[in-house]
C-alpha cells in the first residue's frame, strides 16, 4: 500500500522542495503543501492541515441541542447552511421526528440550499478565473454574485450565515410579496450566468490552461472516495440529492450533469451547468411553495432519548455527513462532522503528482478547498532533509532575536 503519500522522506525524491502555505497568495485559506519537484514536474506531495482546528466536535458535547445549531453554522462561511442543515436533520432523525417536518419547511430548505449552491459556485468560478489569469471574468462574476446575496438577505436577513434552520423546521417563512420580488431577480441572474458560461466556454487561452491538466480518472475518483463536483467531473454519479434524497428533493424535477474528462475544465463546465440548474430549481420551488403561511416548524423536546442519527446532504462542495448520538440529556453525547473538502484531499494529493509547478493554483482550486486559520509553520532544510516545527511562541521569540541579531538567526 504505497499509493497514498508516504511520510516525507529523509532525502527528497526530487531536485528540490517547494513549501506552499499555510499562508500564501494562491491559497485563500491555510493549508500547507510540500512539493518535491524534479525540473518543473511534481514528484511527491505532502500535506499538512489542522491550522484552523478549533476542537468544535468537543465543543458540541458541552452545549445543548439548540445552542449547537449556531455552532454548526459557524463551521464554514460559504457553506454554513449545508452544515447547519446536516446537523438539524441528523438531530431530527435522532429524535425520530424527521418524517413529521411540514412540507412548506422542506421546500424552503430546498430554496436556501440551492441559493447557497449558486453563490458558492459563482464564487468558485470567479476565483478559478483569477487563478488562471483571467481577472476580467473574476470581477464580472463577483459583481453578479451580489444578486444572489441580495436574495438571501431578503429571505433570511443575512448575506452569509443565514441561520434559517432549526431542529423541526425553518425559522422564517417566505411571504408572497417576497416571492414576487425574488423570481424576476433570479431570472435576471440566469441571463447573467448564461453569459458567464458563454464567455468562459469560448475563451481559448483560458480553456487551454485547463484542458488535460490533473486528470482524475473514474476509477481513481471511486478509489479515493471523491465527492461532489470533483467526482461528478470524473463521471461518478454521486449527487446526494438524487442517490439519497432528503427534504423535498424527490418532489423537484432536476438533472444531474456529469462530465467524463476529469480535468480542471470538466470541473468548470460542470459547475457552470450546475449553477444554471440550481437557479431553475430555486424558481421551481418558489413557484410551487406548498402549505399554509406560518406552518413551518414543529415543536421538539429539549431532551432526546438515547438514539443515533446520521444524515448526509449535498453541500456545494459535495457530500457533507453528520452523525449525532443522544444519551437522554439536553446535550449530544457525540457529534461527528465530515466536511466535503476532507473527503477530496486524498484524490487531490493523487492528481497533483505529475503536474507542472505553474498549474498548482488551478489544480488546488478545482476541489474548491475550504479550510481554516494559521498557528504555526515548518522549515525544511533541504540539504539534510531535517524539518522542525515552530509554534507561534517560537516565531515571536525568533522575531525578537532577529531584531537584536539580524537575519543570521534563520540559519540552522
Amino acid at each position: 500500500m504505497t499509493e497514498y503519500a508516504p511520510p516525507i522522506p529523509e532525502t527528497p525524491e526530487g531536485d528540490y522542495s517547494i513549501s506552499i502555505g499555510p499562508q500564501h497568495p494562491t491559497h485563500k485559506e491555510p493549508i500547507r503543501f510540500i512539493f518535491q519537484v524534479k525540473g518543473e514536474t511534481i514528484e511527491h506531495v505532502d500535506l499538512r492541515i489542522g491550522f484552523n482546528h478549533r476542537g468544535i466536535e468537543k465543543a458540541f458535547e458541552q452545549r445543548t441541542w439548540n445552542q449547537n445549531l449556531y455552532l454548526a453554522a459557524r463551521l464554514c462561511g460559504i457553506c454554513s447552511a449545508a452544515h447547519q442543515f446536516a446537523y438539524a436533520q441528523a438531530a431530527e432523525r435522532c429524535a425520530k421526528i424527521y418524517d413529521e417536518i411540514p412540507e412548506r419547511a422542506q421546500y424552503i430548505r430546498v430554496i436556501i440550499q440551492e441559493l447557497e449552491r449558486i453563490q458558492s459556485h459563482m464564487l468558485w468560478y470567479g476565483v478559478l478565473a483569477h487563478d488562471t489569469g483571467f481577472d476580467t471574468m473574476f470581477h464580472l462574476t463577483w459583481r453578479d454574485r451580489e444578486i444572489v446575496n441580495d436574495i438571501l438577505e431578503i429571505i433570511s436577513g443575512n448575506r452569509v450565515n443565514y441561520a434559517m434552520w432549526t431542529i423541526g423546521g425553518v425559522r422564517r417563512d417566505i411571504s408572497r410579496d417576497q416571492i414576487t420580488n425574488i423570481i424576476p431577480k433570479l431570472k435576471d441572474l440566469r441571463k447573467k450566468c448564461d453569459y458567464h458560461r458563454d464567455v468562459m466556454m469560448s475563451e481559448r487561452s483560458f480553456i487551454a490552461r485547463q484542458e488535460n491538466v490533473a486528470i482524475l480518472s473514474t476509477e481513481d475518483a471511486k478509489r479515493f472516495c471523491a465527492v461532489g463536483p470533483t467526482a461528478r467531473a470524473s463521471n461518478v454519479n454521486c449527487d446526494v440529492r438524487k442517490i439519497d434524497p432528503y427534504c423535498a428533493y424527490n418532489k423537484i424535477d432536476f438533472d444531474v450533469p456529469l462530465w467524463d474528462q476529469g480535468d480542471i475544465f470538466g470541473g468548470l463546465s460542470l459547475r457552470l451547468d450546475e449553477t444554471l440548474i440550481s437557479i431553475d430549481m430555486a424558481i421551481q420551488a418558489l413557484e410551487n411553495l406548498p402549505g399554509n403561511p406560518g406552518d413551518i416548524k414543529i415543536r421538539v423536546p429539549r431532551k432526546i432519548d438515547p438514539n443515533e442519527g446520521i444524515q448526509r446532504v449535498e453541500a456545494p462542495r459535495g457530500e457533507d455527513i453528520h452523525f449525532v448520538r443522544s444519551n437522554g440529556s439536553e446535550k449530544p453525547d457525540r457529534h461527528k462532522i465530515r466536511a466535503p473538502t476532507f473527503a477530496n484531499l486524498p484524490s487531490l494529493v493523487h492528481r497533483l503528482k505529475g503536474c507542472q509547478v505553474a498549474d498548482i493554483p488551478p489544480v488546488i482550486r478545482v476541489i474548491d478547498p475550504c479550510i481554516g486559520c494559521c498557528e504555526r509553520t515548518t522549515f525544511v532544510d533541504i540539504k539534510t532533509g531535517k524539518s522542525i516545527d515552530l509554534s507561534g511562541e517560537h516565531l515571536i521569540s525568533r522575531t525578537n532575536r532577529a531584531h537584536r541579531l539580524g537575519t543570521r538567526v534563520l540559519e540552522f
Binding site: M1, I310, R312
Partner: protein, 170 residues
C-alpha cells in the same frame, strides 16, 4: 467477477450474517453491530461482491463498553439509490488496535488518521499513521475527543508544553 446488485439492505446484511439493530425507522439507514475481528472480512466482501466503493468516513464513539468504530458504507441498490450500511465495530478500550481498511478503500487514509489523532485508535497496516489535525506540540498521551479528558485539561497541558519548548529554544 459479476457484481451483485442488491434489492435492499436486508439482502446485504443477510449475506454478511449481520442483524439489524435500532434505530430502524429510516429505510436507507441500516445499523448493524459487529466486532473488530470481522472488519477485513466484511470490507472485502462489500467491495468485491457488492461493488461498494464509497465509505464516507470513520466515526469513533467513546462509550463505557469500549470504542465504537462506525463505518457508513454506501451500497448501491438496484433502483440506483445509495443506502447506508452503518457497521458499528466494538473495539476493546484497553488495547484499541484494529485492522486498517485503507488497503481496501484508499480514500479512508486521512479519515483513519483523524480517528487515530482524536481517539487514539491504532490501525494496523495503515500506510501513514501520523497525527493529522492537532498541533505538533500536542503531548503524545492526549487524545482530545476521549471522554476522560476535558477541554480545560487539554488547554492547560498545551500551554505547559508550549512554555517548555519556548524555554528550550531560548
Amino acid at each position: 467477477m459479476m457484481l451483485n446488485v442488491p434489492k435492499s439492505l436486508d439482502e446485504v446484511a443477510k449475506a454478511l450474517n449481520l442483524t439489524r439493530r435500532d434505530p430502524k425507522i429510516y429505510p436507507r439507514d441500516y445499523y448493524v453491530n459487529s466486532s473488530s475481528d470481522r472488519m477485513l472480512e466484511i470490507a472485502a466482501k462489500l467491495k468485491n461482491e457488492f461493488g461498494v466503493h464509497h465509505v464516507s468516513t470513520v466515526i469513533v464513539r467513546d462509550d463505557e463498553d469500549g470504542f465504537h468504530l462506525i463505518y457508513p458504507f454506501s451500497v448501491i441498490l438496484d433502483n440506483s439509490e445509495w443506502g447506508k450500511l452503518i457497521v458499528d465495530f466494538l473495539v476493546d478500550k484497553k488495547n484499541p488496535e484494529v485492522e486498517s481498511l485503507t488497503p481496501e478503500f484508499p480514500g479512508l487514509v486521512i479519515a483513519e488518521r483523524e480517528a487515530y489523532d482524536m481517539m487514539g485508535i491504532r490501525f494496523k497496516n495503515h500506510p501513514d499513521l501520523r497525527r493529522l489535525l492537532t498541533p505538533d506540540i500536542m503531548p503524545s498521551d492526549i487524545y482530545p475527543l476521549r471522554k476522560d479528558i476535558t477541554a480545560e485539561e487539554i488547554r492547560r497541558r498545551l500551554a505547559e508544553e508550549a512554555e517548555k519548548r519556548r524555554l528550550d529554544l531560548e
